[in-house]
Symmetry: C2
Subunit: 670 residues, 2 copies
């Protein structure tokens, strides 16, 4: 722990004394071992010692332009730090370690304009370039001689990539591609860093050669002069304007007016255009591009977990410091953390952060084993992985956003202050629900897989592990409710199976009444989204449960107990949330529901003494939390007042608008 | 309708041709008659013609200080307009008409620093002053010779008013009250306008006289010099710092250092302190202060409805303009409004805006009849009214916030742009869920009433109309599900009764196991919140249904049909959301649920052709909507690009940070 300058709030100090377990044990579990914890802390020390985290004026008091300029300053020095001291700790191959992502939050309350350089530009070069192309661009990118972004989304098209309008037409005479923006809606829109910062950009465009369109491909485009930073002729580029979050990310727009790039700037690892304009199809296109997509989705599930852990740390610590109301007449005001309704809002946040973190790790490990299968030529597990990553991205970002907002509400009015950091955390995660595949569309992709799996199982074929419950259900296996971990998971699988069955029936009924498959599918989509969510829910429940069991095998008993209390809380919470589904598709009874309700309420009481320790075990330094309400020392009111007094609005006792407008109004002279 | 400068987007124009009803009829229903519609439009014309609505730079691109100054400018001129032209239209007694609140949104994308002057300061003077005090302060306040606010919440206390720490100690020697802030947490915090704008403030403080504390009372306090606007000696005042919303409201903090005010500045309509310090109790304290509280809660339900109508107007129009994806290969991209999943997100928003608007009106009318009962000495209906206004404020603000965010998500990435206005609308309504009584605490107040009603009914006493279902349930009346309006409402009442019964049982079981009532209550609060919500849900369903029937009696058939389709949609939606509760407490069957699902999906199709007309019928001018996505003409992409190009970040092609940081970094010279 970092040394604190102030005394700890006595309520918080007492909470920490009550803790029944060694928080370092849990920290190690989530870091992936003692060494990883130690490496992460070294990285944090380097960044915190750099002095880069400090702002004279809080970001939220700056104008948008000032915020951007401040973020560029920090990004540049942080990049230098990464090339030097941090690389010594992590090694070059690990430049994207979660530890670096974590500590970046100490610098950027919002987001870095350089985000996509390491997040998308470099990975795409690695994944999509020929070895010759790699030799040209990768060293420059890693050495920051060029700064890049990734421009896919357009003003008129987001998730539906085939609809993109930007064209790249091959001109065999000059051996160049001509990039063009044929319509207003074809302008690239949203790419981070594009507005003012980057000088290179990977552009997704419809490839035309010899008069034929071959669909979207990737192109490396220099958009600004390296020396003057002026947009090159034929390039229209700028910032798209203020957003709910990502304020310092200079998200940009980009238009091309017959802008020419060399043939070799098409990323040609897979498909190629030869000098004469002949198009050469990729050998295994589609399959291999999964890697970036799955990587990004795992990252977003990670972000959901990480940001939820920040929100719940803030809200739990604040709830231990805040005292309000009375439980019985003339007694002192209790800590609000003592109210079961407050525990109900917050403890599920702790459990969910655990569940999502472990699910993200599991998904990534699953993917790595799929990759090694693929190298052996086996691509059979890819559709399952795609369906999994789709629904997990959708459900985890959505749940996290809701729970973060619940943490904010749980802090009452003070949660509305930007200095709490909760509104920023919400804005950030709310965006992840939309980008890289919208919630609804991703769930419908999973639903396609589920309906297909149903049909396969019906035809007697074997289905993949995460949907094996479908086969059991089709065999007529009845669900008998049991209030154990396994029993609950089985019942949630029965719910998923029941919902998929209903969708299949709806589609078939609609087809019988004369609709074709597409229309029948379309009219069933409300239910299909619901079925895919139910499937995802069962996967998360099972994964969380299994992973905790696996990871705490050698843990101390007290850690086992508290980690498993959270699992049981999570299972009970979702049981009570979904009584309707369970009554329809499992054998749960009124008595079982009463039991689960009582068990849930008792768990809140059991977890209560360890609540502060559990959020301490997220090991989030104050510099990462950026919160007046959530700092380790609990100096909540002092910080709120200090920050108010430093607010630039208070620099002068009387604002000029008094003299200009208010006084004339008061005197009837306006 | 206002004349538009541009052509209407052809998709939107076509939507309007498809409309089956006369939108003016629905507009009149919600305004309260043709004359009211005409008066509202006159008000809007005056304000729009004033030129005050225009900003050279969009608000969201300004610094916080600039935003505040801009809002003061507009507030001053708007106040002048209200004293002159607008008063001619509305009459002095109607200065707070909803029409004026509506059009104020054309001036303030965020909020006016003068908000509490008319919203709380003037109403409190009217409600809490003696006639002598009224004569002093009311004319000055109405004439804007003084500008006031209302300071209740402190840094350490919000909803729990008895915990407030600010003291007002009577000094009989000088016939003054000494206002004092004894601790850090005693500082007033949050009051709108307090930071920089107002010169008077009604302060809530603990009254001490002759050494005895008589609880919180109200005091009129001048805090700034009328001529120089400097804080008076003994006053510490300033802005609390940036917030998630309310950015231009200069919410403030306030501390007193033994600050003296004349005895007569205590608002003495009810309680009094005589010259010698004798405290005189109010005759009917408590009962009469309900008026402001209920008025504010009705206002917040209205705000929920109004802001939801804005959000859903934006999202529906955008969904008619936006085309994306393909329903079947090689067909043109459909309007996204054609997707059932999109209809599922949006149409419930239209129905909910109707439901809440009509519920707010009904609540206000109910309150007025209670007031007239009270004048006859009958206060028997007050507890019911209090319970109603508590849960309706909680549930309507919470539902509206969720649905507004759903509208924002339904607009994909563009909903994240501040120029869509959706993030502002969300931030505004999210705040109303917290202030004037937090969601959870208000529902627990309703729960107290419900448990008491249960006990009364059990004892054979008659209970008030909104809880008469409890008596029916206690008599053993079984619910038999019917898929009609009345049938569904009855089933939702059965759900509420079942949940209240379970709470009563939980409390009694816990008492049997040795807990006292307070502890048993406390441990049941998670369920009690749930029961109160269920009660509220049944009230809204019934009120919406009844009011539509009443108000469309003389409507044309087509209006009747479409208004009732929305009611049925609302009932089906909530049935499907609450299958768990209905399976537990009503006789709904699997077959009934399937029927409701199919009916719901069919309703989406029936409402689809009228969707744009239905949001047009909210009659929200573009100046009130402030939305790049939701304007009447549907020029979505043009506006987005225009606003991006006007963004101050784009005023210079190269930001200075390139020369300062990026270039040195690229060249390895940082």
């Amino acid at each position: 722990m970092v040394l604190k300058k102030y005394n700890i709030n006595p309520d918080l100090a007492l909470e920490r004394q009550k803790c029944t377990f060694d928080i370092e044990e849990i920290i190690n579990i989530f870091d992936g071992g003692k060494e990883k914890t130690s490496q992460r802390r070294k990285i944090e020390d380097v960044v915190l010692k750099s002095g880069l985290c400090h702002d004279d004026v809080p970001e939220e008091c700056m104008s948008l332009k000032e915020r951007y300029e401040n973020a560029v300053r920090k990004s540049c020095f942080f990049s230098k730090l990464m090339k030097t001291e941090l690389q010594e700790i992590t090694g070059i191959e690990d430049f994207e370690t979660p530890a670096i992502r974590r500590i970046a939050d100490a610098l950027f309350k919002d987001i870095s304009p350089f985000l996509l350089h390491l997040g998308m530009f470099v990975p795409t070069i690695i994944g999509q370039c020929t070895s010759e192309q790699l030799m040209i661009w990768l060293p420059k990118a890693l050495d920051l001689q060029i700064i890049g972004g990734y421009a896919q989304t357009e003003l008129g098209h987001g998730t539906f990539i085939r609809g993109l309008e930007t064209t790249a037409t091959y001109d065999a005479d000059t051996e160049e591609f001509v990039l063009h923006t044929p319509t207003l809606t074809a302008h690239k829109w949203w790419a981070g860093g594009l507005g003012k910062t980057i000088n290179h950009c990977i552009v997704v465009a419809q490839l035309y050669t010899k008069g034929v369109c071959y669909g979207t491909h990737l192109f490396m485009v220099q958009i600004r002069d390296l020396d003057t930073h002026m947009p090159l002729p034929g390039i229209k580029v700028g910032e798209i304007g203020p957003r709910m979050g990502f304020s310092s990310a200079d998200n940009g727009f980009l238009g091309f007016n017959n802008f020419r790039i060399p043939r070799n700037n098409m990323l040609m690892k897979h498909a190629q255009v030869q000098k004469d304009g002949t198009y050469v199809k990729p050998a295994r296109h589609g399959k291999l591009t999964y890697q970036t997509m799955v990587f990004v989705r795992v990252t977003l599930v990670n972000e959901a977990a990480f940001n939820l852990s920040k929100a719940v740390t803030i809200a739990v610590r604040y709830s231990a410091v805040r005292r309000q109301s009375e439980m019985r007449p003339n007694e002192p005001e209790p800590q609000i953390l003592d109210y079961p309704t407050q525990q109900h809002k917050l403890f599920i946040g702790i459990a969910t952060a655990h569940a999502f973190q472990l699910t993200a790790n599991w998904l990534w490990n699953t993917f790595k084993s799929v990759l090694s299968d693929m190298k052996k030529g086996d691509v059979g597990t890819l559709p399952e992985l795609h369906a999994l990553s789709s629904c997990l991205k959708a459900v985890c970002t959505s749940d996290a956003a809701l729970l973060i907002e619940q943490c904010r509400y749980a802090c009452g009015g003070h949660g509305y202050m930007l200095s709490s950091n909760l509104p920023y955390i919400y804005s950030f995660v709310a965006a992840t629900r939309t980008y890289e595949g919208d919630y609804t569309i991703l769930l419908l992709q999973t639903a396609r897989f589920l309906v297909k799996a149903w049909e396969q199982a019906e035809a007697g074929k074997t289905v993949t592990p995460t949907v094996s419950y479908i086969s059991r259900s089709l065999k007529g296996e009845k669900n008998s409710w049991r209030s154990t971990d396994e029993g609950i998971i089985k019942s949630f699988q029965a719910v998923a199976a029941g919902k998929i069955a209903l969708c299949v029936k709806s589609i078939r009924d609609r087809m019988k009444s004369g609709l074709d498959y597409e229309d029948a599918w379309l009219l069933t989509t409300v239910q299909l989204v619901d079925a895919a969510e139910a499937h995802c829910r069962s996967v998360i429940l099972e994964t969380y449960c299994n992973e905790v069991r696996r990871l705490t095998k050698s843990s101390s008993d007290n850690v086992k107990i508290v980690m498993h209390q959270l699992v049981t809380l999570y299972l009970s919470y979702w049981t009570l949330q979904r009584t309707g589904d369970l009554l329809r598709y499992s054998s749960i009874s009124e008595k079982d529901i009463d039991f689960m309700q009582r068990q849930y309420e008792e768990l809140l009481q059991h977890i209560r003494p360890n609540a502060v320790a559990l959020v301490d075990a997220f090991d989030l330094r104050d510099e990462i939390l950026h919160s007046s309400l959530g700092a380790y020392d609990g100096r909540v009111y002092e910080r709120l007042m200090e920050q108010a007094e430093n607010n630039p609005m208070n620099a002068e006792p009387v604002n000029q608008s008094f003299h200009k407008y208010i006084k004339p109004l008061l005197q009837g002279k306006l």
